[in-house]
Amino acid sequence: MRATPSTPDSNSRSDRLISLWERMNRPMYYVILIIWAIIAIAPLYFTLVFSLKPVASIYDKPLYFPSPFTLENFKTVIESFDLFPRWLLNSAIVSIVVTVLRVLFCAMGGYAFARMEFPLKKLLFGAMLVSMMIPGQVTLIPNFLVVGPGILRNLKIGDTTIPTGFGLTDNLAGVILPGIVAAFGVFMMTQFYKSLPKELEEAAMMDGLGRWGIFFRVILPISQTQLLTLALLTFQGSWNEFMWPLVILRTPTNFTLPIGLQWFRGEYYTLYSIVLAGSLFNTIPILILFFLFQRYFVQGIATTGMRDV
């Protein structure tokens, strides 16, 4: 966004305001950014402080600084349950599979909605929006029935029972299945793809590529940033997901990390130092991922756009 003022002899008020704006621009941006940064970092900061203090001193001063300092809470989290590494692995499997599949399938769906014409398109798009509007509490039981025991039990023909559900209770695949595509993701990719200039695809079509070819060779590479955004949001949503895995998973060995960490919340009271320490195990992996993948959040079409298609 670099506009160069070119018209001469402009002494109008708006121009004076604009030059004032451009001078105050930078420091003002920094001020906004820093204030919001402090606000944004506060919860994580306090989580760190509380988890680094021994349990008995959580209410003692100083409150803003972990003194006395201890790593005991983290040790307690890891050692209290033999299954802790297993939970990490389960969470990783679920999140990675869901992310990869969902990004791919949502990009596909988004491209179809954004660029192709087909019968029932408006209806389907509307239905997709509506599906996001249904509150989760009422969809919990029907979804559980579909993924697990089946809508109708004991539906028999002769001696064989017809399965009306996937039978994936207590299975990580049952956690993954409903998440492989999401209306939110399709919607988002649709809106992103609508903003892409059509020239790219037209050029590719001239070269004889079909829709699938265009999708994999042109669209996906161009929309790196958007795909990564969706990937990050999906990973984070899946990693922190609680309600659905709680209902699907039964045996402790199959738990994902958030479910396992909840084990520290007691029936009558909670030792927050430990709970917060545990929650960091949930947060840190995503942060690391985010920081690492920032490199790919580059200027998408703006730089590569017109180059070589």
């Binding site: 209410y59 033999d82 990869v100 919990l140 709680l246 209902v247 084990w263 007691g266 009271y269």
Partner: protein
């Protein structure tokens, strides 16, 4: 980018494979189940409760699988339960117990399972929820099974056993219980030169002490004599102590607008109005147990769960417990209790009963008692050494006698709780009169009772 796709797809394939293989199968051999955990017990007796063991047990060809579930307590309590289950499996190799703890919203999960016909065989049933479940016939009646093993209802504390009896049938064996005790901060009493509370205290003693112990001189750290939350799990005992009740005998009507209830409400809320008591929110906490630990409430009415909490979180506090002071109508207390119940759709009721019986027999209950986590429901344990050595727990235990009433208001229980809590909140936050507020709550409760027919 292409390389990334390739790597990703391999990973996805691998993960899908792993995921689908991730179902656990019934293990014929009992393997390492639990970890060594040191469970500190009050009076500095360190008891190692469980061991890590690999045991090959001769397993009969056909094992009956029993699914057992409950909400998740702290890791140490979980370890305790798992050690009991381990002991059971050694003594009963023909039964495999699968422990499936629910670490989140217990009732939401349990209801989902019942609605879809996939509920566990044995599970926790809280007395508060019990009426609805008993009424709808989803629990297994246990009388015949009890006769089979010679377990008598008389072995258990009457108030607890009656709580889980519906229309003359037993639907759950109480596993433990809790009552409210008056916790008081000994150091603060000493500093104010007051005599410690005793089991013979009355409302007047309570009020006098609260006045003497309140110290609001430091605005950053106000100290109140008594915690008086709007919690419907605390206030009712004052109604009982005033000779009244919250509901009538068959839960068809509420007595919240009776003179006894209103009188109790006035006594209770007066603490805060007169600034000798406060709610935890007034001092920035969610729970009065924390405030008590911090030393900003000199006295609180709390259950026995406060004991391990103080042990972990505020080990330096000097406190003791007595039975709640009696009011004009005598003594009164509430019982919080949970039972082991079985589902009426259980495929193996005999085996399920054996699990329940084991978990509530004398040996198991003694173990639980000595860990300090809960009080036993068997009468035979009331003279145990542990209670003799732990006066705080003993006081909580004593609360179950002398007319304690279970914390349960019939099928509309949650509505009663909500309206009762809001009634007190209205007095606190909007300055409403107790009589008016309670009358409104009573009307709301009656509407809810009507709607539930």
């Amino acid at each position: 980018m292409k390389k990334i796709y390739f790597v990703m797809s391999i990973f996805v394939l691998l993960s899908l494979l792993l995921a689908s293989c991730a179902t656990t199968e019934a293990e014929p051999v009992i393997e390492t189940v639990i970890k060594t955990v040191e469970v500190p017990v009050i009076e500095t007796v360190e008891v190692t409760v469980i061991e890590t063991q690999e045991v090959i047990v001769e397993v009969p060809a056909e094992q009956v699988e029993i699914r057992l579930s409950g909400w998740a307590s702290s890791p140490s309590e979980t370890a305790l339960l798992e050690s009991l289950l381990y002991r059971f499996s050694v003594e009963n190799p023909d039964i495999l117990v699968r422990y499936e703890p629910i670490t989140g919203d217990y009732w939401q999960s349990l209801l989902t399972m019942i609605a879809s016909g996939t509920e566990p065989d044995v599970f926790y049933m809280d007395i508060f929820q019990f009426p609805a479940y008993a009424q709808e016939g989803v629990l297994l009646p246990l009388d015949d099974l009890m006769a089979g093993t010679g377990t008598s209802t008389g072995d258990f504390i009457p108030a607890l056993m009656n709580a889980f009896t519906y229309e003359d049938a037993v639907y759950g064996i109480p596993k433990d219980f809790n009552t409210l005790g008056l916790f008081y901060n000994k150091d603060m009493f000493d500093a104010a030169g007051l005599a410690y509370p005793t089991d013979d205290w009355t409302w007047d003693d309570l009020r006098a002490a609260a006045e003497a112990l309140t110290d609001l001189s430091n605005p950053d750290r106000p100290i109140y004599g008594l915690g008086v939350p709007s919690d419907p799990g605390r206030f009712p005992i004052f109604v009982f102590q005033n000779g009244g009740s919250i509901m009538n005998a068959d839960f068809s009507d509420t007595l919240l607008d009776s003179t006894e209830a209103v009188g109790a409400g006035e006594f209770y809320t007066a603490f805060r109005t007169d600034q000798v008591g406060a709610t935890p929110a007034d001092v920035g906490e969610g729970w009065q147990g924390t405030v008590f630990g911090k030393g900003q409430f000199a006295m609180v009415y709390e259950g026995g769960w406060l004991i391990p909490y103080l042990n972990d979180q505020f080990p330096n506090i000097n406190y003791d417990v007595v039975v709640p002071p009696a009011g004009p109508g005598g003594e009164g207390n509430m019982i919080f209790t949970v039972s082991w119940s079985a589902t009426v759709n259980c495929q193996h009721p005999e085996e399920a009963w054996r699990v329940i019986e084991f978990l509530t027999n004398e040996a198991s209950q003694t173990t639980v008692l000595e860990s300090g986590f809960a009080l036993p429901s068997r009468i035979s344990l009331q003279d145990s050494e542990y209670l003799a050595n732990n006066p705080a727990s003993a006081a909580i235990f004593r609360g179950a006698f002398n007319g304690a009433i279970p914390f349960m208001w019939g099928v509309v229980g949650s509505d009663v709780n909500n309206f009762m809590g809001q009634a007190i909140e209205r007095v606190y936050l909007e300055g409403a009169l107790v009589a008016d507020s309670f009358a409104q709550a009573a009307a709301d409760i009656r509407a809810a009772i009507e709607a539930s027919r």
